[in-house]
């Protein structure tokens, strides 16, 4: 399973591609690709969005579903989705509805 992630061009915010092809600021809103064809659609949209100068550093990342929640396999991506593990007051985790615990 994969989701498509990137950083928004104008402010660098970590974002994930949602089902409606908008870039969501939190991981739970991401569209999860369950097969290769879906992954290719995500990647193609990412390429297009980068070409439109909306985002940079577009990447498909591996995730799994844990109790219905999207959890990236790599710690790096879990930290991107939450914020610095040493500053709970910063990043997505500091929002009213916490996005995801990193560790």
């Amino acid at each position: 399973m994969k989701v498509l992630t990137a950083n928004r061009l104008f402010d660098g915010e970590a974002v994930w591609l949602a089902a409606d092809h908008s870039w969501a600021e939190t991981l739970p809103a991401a569209h999860v690709a369950h097969d290769e064809a879906d992954e290719e659609r995500l990647a193609a949209h990412g390429k297009l969005s980068a070409a439109r100068n909306e985002v940079v550093d577009v990447e498909l990342i591996d995730v799994q579903l844990v109790d219905g929640a999207i959890v990236p396999l790599r710690l790096r991506e879990r930290i991107r989705a939450a914020g610095p593990t040493v500053r709970g007051d910063l990043g997505k985790q500091a929002r009213a509805v916490p996005a995801l615990a990193a560790a």
Binding site: N7, L9, F10, D11, G12, E13, A14, A50, R52, N53, V56, D57, L73, R74, L75, R76, I79, R80, G83, P84, T85, V86, R87, L90, G91
Partner: protein, 556 residues
């Protein structure tokens, strides 16, 4: 302190305007990311895990109160209320929006600061001993020469696209506090038998995945030939250094592969064409730059002895701080104070906007408005009258900046690691915090004595783990974090590279492993005078391997 002349000011302002235009064109989509990326890097703008990162240059680690207040303003206005001082004496802001960075750079330019050459394959910000101009053991202040090199290397057309990044450091004392042997070029300002000033020239040091200590290729270079000789070195490297493989492109690889003697021969041959020519520094020019670095007039303050004696008796906390964080100044009535950015359990090198403002105020009131950044990620007030030490201590305590732990186990160097950095493989900061908390008793830390513990979150070694007495390198293994331990590194004039002690440790094991290493040292040392590094050099890794791995080590 150095003050911009009209050329400096016009140059920096022009670069801000140029970058503003580049950012606008990027946001409008007129240039692609591939076109823009090298431009933003040339202006110190990286993209990290959570956001862009702006790295601001602090030449030779010297700041005025006015400049530090501006850094506080940048943290407040464009970032999230804090900054991170790095092992290269720079400061990083981890959250600026690209669209606002030109405004931040314009604000920085108003106090003669910039982010130029803090990235890219050019000559980077030049670093120096953080006690320069104050240290009692110094031959001469090396910063005028660092400033001369800064001017020469800024946008130098020949050296803007080197095979790889290039770093230069200065010390003006035998005791190396600037880690010059870990630099591409290390320059040690000294006097020869005739009393003339010159440099011992070290070349080819570096950390990263291939750590190599620099080799001394010249014992004495007359100071007026600084530019001609450094030009010869960088030219030889620029022409002959490898560009086919990023991992073999640093000058250290070239010096290592050719051998120091052959490399020196090439440099000397190139220098034959340069010395005594246009690049030789006229004494009047050296004098003009030196005048900027003239130390503040330090009036005699003989009442300091009595004041310090009284405060020592009055406060154990002050007394501990005096012993650890205050060092001798060349003027007997003064001292240099290290402001610890290593409060127990906090992020090494991080400082809030309010703390920056407070340090700027304290420096202005008690320290002639001057602040230094150390490569160990602390701040320094280089000229404080001993009579004012109690007041400075109290003011720092109020800001949480008076932890008496300089050179102790909790004075940890740590890179931002995987909490921020897109290159990192593992986290550094939580490991630093947990070690500091485990050894939180300052009494225990003092009993252990000098122990430099450095942590990097990847093999690029921004956290200087190769030269920590105890070095910790975070790697990614099977999707998790693993920490390799090296022992016996040192970054001073007796520099050495640490040796891997054995298999790595998981995040839950690494603090115990450090404690085992420390307890092993304590059980084996002759006495308190034998520091950890001394003991390691006497006994080697064997007792530590035995303590860490036991039977496993004996089988191996």
């Amino acid at each position: 302190m150095y003050r911009y002349d009209e050329f400096d000011r016009a140059f920096v302002e022009a670069r801000v305007a140029q970058f503003r235009d580049q950012v606008e064109r990027r946001l409008k989509g007129e240039i692609t990311e591939d076109q823009f990326k090298p431009l933003r890097l040339q202006n110190g703008v990286y993209l990290q895990l959570h956001a862009y990162m702006l790295r601001v240059a602090i030449p030779y680690g010297t700041l005025s109160s006015r400049q530090l207040r501006m850094l506080a303003h940048i943290a407040r206005t464009y970032d999230k209320g804090y900054g991170h001082f790095t092992t290269r004496q720079n400061i990083q802001f981890h959250w600026p929006a690209l669209a606002e960075i030109p405004d931040a750079l314009a604000d920085l330019a108003s106090v003669e600061m910039h982010a130029l050459q803090t990235s890219g394959n050019c000559i980077r910000n030049i670093s120096a001993d953080h006690f320069a101009g104050a240290a009692a053991d110094e031959v001469a202040d090396p910063r005028p020469y660092a400033e001369i090199l800064r001017q020469w290397s800024s946008a130098h057309p020949e050296f803007s696209f080197l095979p790889r990044k290039f770093k230069i450091a200065f010390t003006g004392a035998e005791r190396d506090r600037a880690a010059i042997q870990t630099y591409d070029i290390g320059l040690h300002l000294k006097r020869n038998a005739e009393g003339e000033l010159g440099f011992a020239v070290w070349v080819g040091g570096g950390q990263g995945r291939t750590p190599i200590l620099a080799k001394k290729i010249r014992d004495f270079l007359p100071h007026e030939e600084l530019l001609s000789y450094v030009t010869a070195i960088v030219r030889v490297y620029n022409l002959e250094g490898r560009r086919d493989n990023k991992w073999k492109a640093r000058i250290k690889i070239m010096v290592h592969e050719l051998g120091a003697a052959e490399f020196a021969r090439l440099v000397e041959a190139e220098w034959e064409n340069l010395k005594g020519g246009d690049l030789s520094l006229p004494q009047a020019d050296i004098d003009a730059i030196e005048a900027y670095f003239a130390p503040p007039a330090l009036p005699d303050r003989p009442e300091g002895d009595a004041a310090v004696r009284a405060a020592r008796l009055d406060s154990r906390t002050f007394s501990d701080w005096l012993d650890r964080n205050v060092v001798t100044h060349r003027h007997p009535d003064y001292a240099a104070v290290t402001v610890s950015l290593k409060a127990i359990g906090e992020t090494p090198g991080d400082i809030s906007d309010a703390q920056m403002d407070a340090v700027a105020d304290i420096a202005e009131r008690y320290g002639f408005g001057e602040i230094r950044v150390s490569h160990e990620q602390n701040l320094v007030l280089p000229h404080v009258a001993r009579a004012d030490l109690p007041a400075v201590h109290d003011a720092l305590v109020a800001q949480g900046l008076a932890t008496s732990n300089i050179d102790l186990i909790s004075d940890i160097i740590a890179c931002p690691g995987l909490d921020y950095c897109s290159l990192a493989n593992a986290r550094s900061i939580p490991v630093a915090q947990q070690i500091a908390l485990r050894f939180s008793s300052l009494e225990r830390q003092r009993e252990i004595g000098e122990l430099k513990l450095n942590i990097s979150g990847c093999i690029n070694a921004c956290g200087h783990h190769h030269v920590g007495h105890i070095g910790i390198l975070g790697v990614e293994k099977k999707g998790g974090e693993l920490y390799q331990v090296t022992l016996g590194g040192a970054a001073d004039e007796h520099a050495s590279l640490g040796e891997i002690v054995g298999r790595g440790f998981g995040p839950e094991e690494i603090v115990d492993a450090v404690e085992t290493i420390v307890e092993t040292y304590l059980s084996l040392r002759h006495d308190r005078a034998e520091r950890f590094i001394d003991l390691y050099r006497r006994l080697g890794a064997a007792p530590f391997k035995e303590a860490l791995y036991g039977a496993e080590a004996r089988v191996a």
